[in-house]
Amino acid sequence: MASIDELKRISSQVRRDIIRMVSGAKSGHPGGSMSSADFLVALYFNVMDHDPASWTRDSRGQDAFILSAGHLSPLYYSVLARCGYFPVSELGTFRKIGTRLQGHPSVDRNLPGVVQTSGSLGQGLSAAVGVAIGKKMDNDPHLVYVLVGDGECEEGQIWEAAMFAAHHRVDNLIAVTDWNRQQIDGNVDDVAGVGDLRPKWEAFGWIVLECDGHDFSSILKACSDAKAACGQGRPVMILMKTVMGEGVDFMAGTNEWHGKAPNPEQCAVALSQLEETLGDY
């Protein structure tokens, strides 16, 4: 289990990986990848009970994670590789012909660590609920985690899943919202205002926690509280306040870098702001 200092170092490297992958592919989604980076690093290196060596798609005997916001694939792949699910060198193949690291996560190429295909927004929460029910039926006490975007909550299916999970008392599920308030077309509040997510999720019957998505002690406390809240008949949502593009000054806080790759000059500037801690791929 990594310490906060170690998490910070991993996170810096993961952000470098994201910038280099997206720049190398000349496409991809750095903004949300950067805003969720600290959380996903904390999840895989501290919070989740998982073992890359024995992992199978059904995640039997382990915690499971589903990335509902599939466009955060550079982040997802970097974290999986840095955990040892597949060689770090493979990150250089991101979005290139023949790769297992498809633009959005897929299961058809057997990339270790990926539980479900995602990318068409609003669907991963439902799949996570299904996996969670499967774990309960099999008396597997492990938890299911799922990451959604705040813009993604404009999809109606998110709220179908929200009602369903509460009705069926799916209390081995911890969902996390990357509440960076940005989406492709602009500020979430301007595009299609999801409003205040806390009373919404509470009204749908969920236990709602909040954290600062760029403060590891806040993330770890929320995850610890979320685990403690499991098993009480209600699903758990962590609303994580984040900044899109966090970690690189010219990317931070704007929708401009939601789905755009930095050019070589921009890439060099970005990398100069992110310490290489574990060695680039």
Binding site: R57, D108, Q123, S126, G130, A161
Partner: protein, 319 residues
């Protein structure tokens, strides 16, 4: 020609219900998911015996498909059921992303398919579902012809590993295939052999095709009727072999022209053995309210229309 006896009208959805119940007894991984139509889709017997393996999803089909995918990832074998329109058109992307591209062992149980849904009208009468499901890579598409075959197909779908679209209907229709005849996915079923024309039929129109063959026999025309219960993968070998013998064919389906059985057969024959081919289908139309029998007649899908199409196909081969 081989005669088939209607042992009593029964709905194919009840065949599904019986098959689901039996599959559930044999395999504890089998589950049933409903979007507020459990009784209509005939999941009652399964629910009564296995309430812990039944999940009521409410009127939220998109979530139902995602939950089914998650359960399949966990090793379950979920049958997600509703009316055909609501488990295809309404959730096409969910099936594409979560089930087909997600490569999970989910069965889509589609009741009330086609025109013979009847009085509910066009909002509920999908005649595009076969096209949608055929288009998905790796999706098996099964459209059985009567109660007995639907029960057998359900048992086969439960054993098959991979996504299956299982299409059946609402009204009580003739039940005429043998009880407990094993259903082999991907195999065409020879109903009656003939020499002059092949009638490829699927679903409720297999019985109509057999009636048409009887009418033609009285005129001295010997039609071969083949039940294409599995539309994908198509038994192209059986399709080509039959028309090599008969030299003309008819495709009959309770579905529109675009993307259905007819186009699948035409694709197979264009490469394998081009012959005069006539189509009996809904064309490019929506349905409307009416009784099943009225609608089959009004849309040109009954035995008389199939026989007329066979005569046209035969006439063309003499040109």
């Amino acid at each position: 020609m081989k005669k088939y006896i209607n042992t009593g009208n029964k709905d194919t959805r009840s065949g599904f219900g019986a098959g689901l119940h039996e599959a559930g007894k044999a395999d504890p991984r089998i589950m049933a998911l409903s979007a507020d139509l459990a009784s209509s889709v005939k999941m009652d017997a399964f629910f009564k015996e296995f309430p812990d393996r039944f999940i009521q999803c409410g009127i939220a089909e998109a979530n139902m498909i995602g939950v089914a995918a998650g359960l399949a990832i966990s090793g379950k074998i979920p049958f997600a059921g509703s009316f055909a329109e609501f488990v295809t058109g309404r959730v096409y992307d969910q099936i594409r992303q979560e089930v087909a591209y997600g490569q999970v062992n989910v069965k889509i149980a589609a009741s009330h398919s086609g025109l013979t849904l009847g009085e509910d009208g066009a909002t509920h009468q999908t005649m595009e579902d076969i096209a949608l499901m055929r288009a998905l890579p790796g999706m098996v598409v099964i459209n059985p012809c009567d109660y007995n075959q639907t029960k057998a197909a359900t048992l086969a779908a439960a054993k098959y590993v991979g996504p299956v679209y299982l299409r059946f209907g609402r009204p009580a229709m003739p039940n005429f295939t043998p009880v407990d005849q094993e259903f082999i996915i991907g195999k065409a079923v020879m109903m009656t052999e003939g020499t002059d024309v092949t009638i490829f039929a699927t679903g409720h129109l297999v019985w109509e095709a057999l009636q048409a063959a009887g009418q033609l026999e009285a005129e001295g025309i010997f039609a071969e009727v083949i039940d294409i219960a599995t539309i994908k993968p198509l038994d192209a070998g059986a399709v080509v072999a039959s028309v090599r013998k008969t030299g003309a064919a008819v495709c009959a389906e309770e579905h529109n022209a675009v993307g259905g059985l007819g186009e699948a057969i035409a694709y197979a024959l264009s490469g394998g053995c081009p012959v005069p081919l006539e189509f009996v289908n809904g064309g490019d139309r929506f349905g409307q309210s009416g009784t099943p029998a009225e609608l089959l007649k009004a849309y040109g899908l009954d035995a008389e229309h199939i026989a007329a199409a066979a005569r046209r196909a035969i006439a063309r081969k003499r040109i």
